[in-house]
Symmetry: C2
Amino acid sequence: MATRDLVVGFDADDTLWHNETIFEQTHERYRALLAHYHDAATVDRTLFATEMRNLDLYGYGVKGFTLSAIETAIQLTAGKIRAKEIRELIELGRSMLAHPVELLEGVEEALGALAGKHRLVLITKGDLRDQERKLAKSGLAPHFRHIEILSEKSPDSYAAIFRRHGIAPADFLMIGNSLKSDILPVLALGGAGAYVPYHITWAAERVADLPVADGRFFQLKTLRELPAVLAALGAR
Amino acid sequence: MATRDLVVGFDADDTLWHNETIFEQTHERYRALLAHYHDAATVDRTLFATEMRNLDLYGYGVKGFTLSAIETAIQLTAGKIRAKEIRELIELGRSMLAHPVELLEGVEEALGALAGKHRLVLITKGDLRDQERKLAKSGLAPHFRHIEILSEKSPDSYAAIFRRHGIAPADFLMIGNSLKSDILPVLALGGAGAYVPYHITWAAERVADLPVADGRFFQLKTLRELPAVLAALGAR
């Protein structure tokens, strides 16, 4: 079988390092703060509705989340929440931004092994400064030829990356924990996708069904299984 | 005289479209909201101090500004500010994000005249989604070969752009309203700068002295004067 040169794209949050767990810890403290007004399910549902309503204007990331959390708290308490508690929410947001970056299992070894053989690209969405800071803290930047921080992951935004870096979609493999953001847009463009679920998936990223893409879709437990995917794709 | 191919970089906020005026309107409403607690000078000074303290964590942009404004309001009222007033601050932030983009005088003509002759690059700093939205609203995107949205403008971040796009610093002219962000880093790398002051300069962007860079530094009143700058640089 002829071997191929692949370009390998990696998502960042919950693919290379823990992220949704930090949001989950914040959600717990948020429910506790509002516990004598509403049950946890109402708090979660209302906060999520606010986030979705604000998403187009705020985009992804901690700052928009914090603003939505303050707005929801005012709404759910009919304006009775105290300034002191709102200051706690601002502090919660700040501690999320300042949180240490904790790599997922096997990430350094997987990137180290691939970087010598393939062109690696980091493709993440979210807040520019926060993503840059997490990448710097992670120590992983030297493995990547290109860093792409997007406001949204869509077929159009992947296609723009392919054009910018001269990547043929058929020679591209994207690895990530979100079917919606990392896998489906790349499959739609003719690339391959390796889905590595994280143990929590943010509601906004959930999709109903696994994609069908013969020989171009893979599901892994950890990045340690990547060599088998590359072999299946006929990579060098 | 031999003619040269120049790459021309443009800043966006307060160079291509009005921005600081929107912040100034918000500041006025902010001072009014806190007027029975503190005089305007104290409000301005305290808000600016909060913004500077949060800048490393939040970066530039409306969402970080809004969070700093809420934090400052809680501080300046010793926690007496009402949730209803904090909701007003959130609304103020949202209306800044949703504000129409108003181009500065002469911008469309200047870009239209240059785009046919030179490679134009938009180089802006701030919030990714907000800058993308303003660019889309402006209708100016088709004039630019590359769009670069940075979290900070420094000699390093300009040098990275030069490498990415194969730009020789000596053939680069940057145009913008901030000496600190648009002009000084480019002069330091050996490029040329055209400074076009806006009628308001945010305190964080102010520098004491005009740069001295023989034949590489220009100060303009409007972008209508650009052809003379390009002629002085020996451009085609």
